[in-house]
C-alpha cells in the first residue's frame, strides 16, 4: 500500500487516534506519549498490507496503539528514561502541539489514577466510539459482560476521582462561580474596583 493510500485510510480516524493515545498515556509526559503514537503509526504503516479488510482499519489501528502503550509501560523503569525509539530526537515534526498537554488536565489526572485496562476500555468507548463487542475484541477479553462490568466500574470510579480532584483543586470556572455566588466577595470586589478608579 502506498503512503497516500495509507493516509487516506487513516484520515477519518486520525483525530480520535491522537486523542486516544494522549489520554491513554495519562501519567506520562508529552515526549513519552509522542513516542508511543509515532511508533504505533509507523508500525501500522509498515504492516498495513497484512490487514485483510480495510473496513477493520480503525479497530486494528487502535489495537496497535493500545499494544504499544502496554509495551511502553511494561518496560523496566530505567529504560523509560532512555528513548528506545529510532526516531531522531530534536526533529521538527511533532504530532502533539505544544499547548495540548495543558488542556483537560483534570480528566487526564483522573485517568492517570485508573488501571491501564480500565483506562483503555473507557477511552475506547468514549473517544474511539467502539461498541462493547469491538472493545471485547481489542482488549482480547473472553466475554462482552466482562467489558460491560469494566466500563460500569470505571465510570463510577472516574466520577469519584474527578469529584475528589475538583474539591482539592477547583477549576477556574468553579472558582468564578463560587465568587459570584458569595455576597461578601462580591462587595469586596466592588470596593476594590472603586478604589482602583481613584475613588
Amino acid at each position: 500500500m502506498t503512503n497516500s493510500e495509507f493516509t487516506q485510510l487513516l484520515n477519518p480516524h486520525y483525530n480520535d487516534a491522537v486523542n486516544y493515545c494522549r489520554a491513554l498515556c495519562a501519567g506520562s509526559n508529552q515526549a513519552e506519549a509522542e513516542e508511543v503514537l509515532q511508533q504505533s503509526l509507523l508500525k501500522a504503516f509498515e504492516n498495513v498490507d497484512s490487514l485483510a479488510e480495510t473496513k477493520k482499519f480503525k479497530s486494528w489501528l487502535f489495537q496497535i496503539i493500545t499494544r504499544s502503550f502496554y509495551n511502553a509501560i511494561r518496560r523496566p523503569f530505567w529504560k523509560r528514561f532512555v528513548s528506545q525509539s529510532t526516531i531522531n530526537e530534536g526533529e521538527d515534526f511533532h504530532i502533539y502541539e505544544a499547548d495540548y498537554f495543558d488542556e483537560n488536565q483534570q480528566l487526564i489526572a483522573a485517568l492517570a489514577k485508573l488501571e491501564s485496562k480500565e483506562r483503555a476500555a473507557i477511552l475506547l468507548f468514549e473517544l474511539g466510539g467502539f461498541s462493547i463487542k469491538e472493545i471485547t475484541v481489542i482488549q482480547k477479553e473472553g466475554s462482552e459482560s466482562a467489558i460491560k462490568s469494566r466500563l460500569s466500574r470505571t465510570r463510577a470510579k472516574l466520577k469519584e476521582i474527578m469529584e475528589k480532584l475538583e474539591e482539592e483543586n477547583p477549576s477556574p470556572e468553579k472558582i468564578q462561580s463560587l465568587k459570584t455566588s458569595d455576597l461578601y466577595h462580591e462587595t469586596s470586589e466592588l470596593i476594590n474596583q472603586y478604589k482602583s478608579m481613584g475613588g
Binding site: 503512503n3 495509507f6 486523542n19
Partner: protein, 270 residues
C-alpha cells in the same frame, strides 16, 4: 466539569495541522512495507526449483532383485537326477546344472568323518518372480530327493536417480536398459560364485537390432560349456514351452507324483 463534558472537550480537539506532514514523515522513518519484490520472488522460485531438481537427480543406490537361484543338495547321482528333472514340464534343462560335491559327514558316536558324495543341483531363474521360483523348486523336490533346497534372490545394487527410484517402486518399471553390462554380469557372477560351487559367466550382449541379451555360460566340466541366451526383456516374463526350444514335452502333475513315488521306492531298495 462532569465526565461526559470532559470527554467531549478532549475528543473535539483538532489535530489536522500535524496530519499534513505525517505522510512525508512516515516515508522518511518507515522500513517500508514488507513485500518481496517480484524480482526476488522469481529468483527465490528459480533457486528452489533448482535445488529440488538437483536433489532429485542425485543418484541413489538401491538393492534390486533380478532373479533367483535354486540350489539343492541331493544324495541321488547326477545321472539319476538329470533323468528325473528332464521329464518335468516347465523346467529348462539348460538352466539346471548338476555338480558332484564331496561332504565330510562326522559320526557323532565315533567322531570319525565319512565322505559322502552329493549332487548339487543349481537352477538359475533370470526373472524376479518369487512365486515362479517357488513353483519350480516344488517341482524339483517332487522329482528329486533333496536333503536341502534353498531359493536365493539374486540382487544387485543399481544406481539411479531419485526420480527413477520413485518410478521403479511405484510403477514397477523394468530395469533401465542403459545400466552397465559389466556391472550386471560382475554382480551375477560374484553372487553365483559365493553361493554355489559353480563359477558362472554372465555377459550382456547387444545384437544388430539393438536388442540386449543376457548370456549365461555354464561350465559343464567334461561336457564343455553350455550357453544360454535370453532377451533381457524376457527376463521378466514367465518361461513357457512355446518360447524355449530346450524344453521337453509337457508333463502332467500326476506324472510328476508317480516319478517321485518311483524314486522313493528305488531309494529304499538302495
Amino acid at each position: 466539569m462532569n465526565v461526559p463534558e470532559a470527554f467531549k472537550s478532549l475528543k473535539n480537539h483538532d489535530h489536522s495541522s500535524s496530519f499534513n506532514g505525517l505522510g512525508t514523515w512516515l516515508d522518511q522513518h518507515s522500513k517500508g512495507p514488507k513485500q518481496m519484490k517480484n524480482f526476488y520472488k522469481i529468483a527465490a522460485s528459480l533457486v528452489a526449483t533448482a535445488i529440488i531438481l538437483v536433489a532429485c537427480t542425485v543418484p541413489v543406490q538401491q538393492e534390486e532383485e533380478i532373479g533367483y537361484m535354486i540350489r539343492g543338495l541331493s544324495t541321488e547321482s547326477e545321472a539319476v537326477g538329470k533323468g528325473k528333472i528332464a521329464n518335468l514340464s516347465g523346467i529348462n534343462m539348460a538352466e539346471v546344472q548338476f555338480i558332484p560335491v564331496l561332504h565330510e559327514i562326522i559320526n557323532k558316536e565315533s567322531s570319525n568323518s565319512e565322505p559322502q558324495v552329493y549332487t548339487e543341483v543349481v537352477m538359475l531363474m533370470p526373472q524376479a518372480n518369487l512365486k515362479a521360483a517357488q513353483d519350480k523348486a516344488n517341482a524339483l523336490m517332487a522329482a528329486v530327493d533333496f536333503d536341502q533346497i534353498d531359493i536365493m534372490p539374486i540382487q544387485e545394487t543399481v544406481e539411479r536417480t531419485f526420480f527413477e527410484s520413485a518410478l521403479q517402486k511405484t510403477f514397477n518399471v523394468k530395469i533401465d536398459p542403459d545400466l552397465s553390462e559389466a556391472q550386471i554380469s560382475a554382480r551375477i557372477n560374484n553372487f553365483l560364485h559365493e553361493n554355489s560351487s559353480v563359477v558362472e559367466t554372465a555377459v550382456i550382449e547387444e545384437d544388430e537390432k539393438g536388442n540386449r541379451h543376457a548370456v549365461f555360460v555354464f561350465e559343464m566340466g567334461e561336457d564343455g560349456k553350455f550357453e544360454v541366451k535370453r532377451d533381457i526383456e524376457e527376463l521378466y516374463n514367465d518361461l513357457t514351452p512355446e518360447k524355449n526350444e530346450f524344453l521337453h514335452k509337457d508333463v502332467s502333475e500326476e506324472d510328476v507324483l508317480q516319478l517321485k513315488k518311483l524314486k522313493e521306492e528305488q531309494k529304499k531298495e538302495d
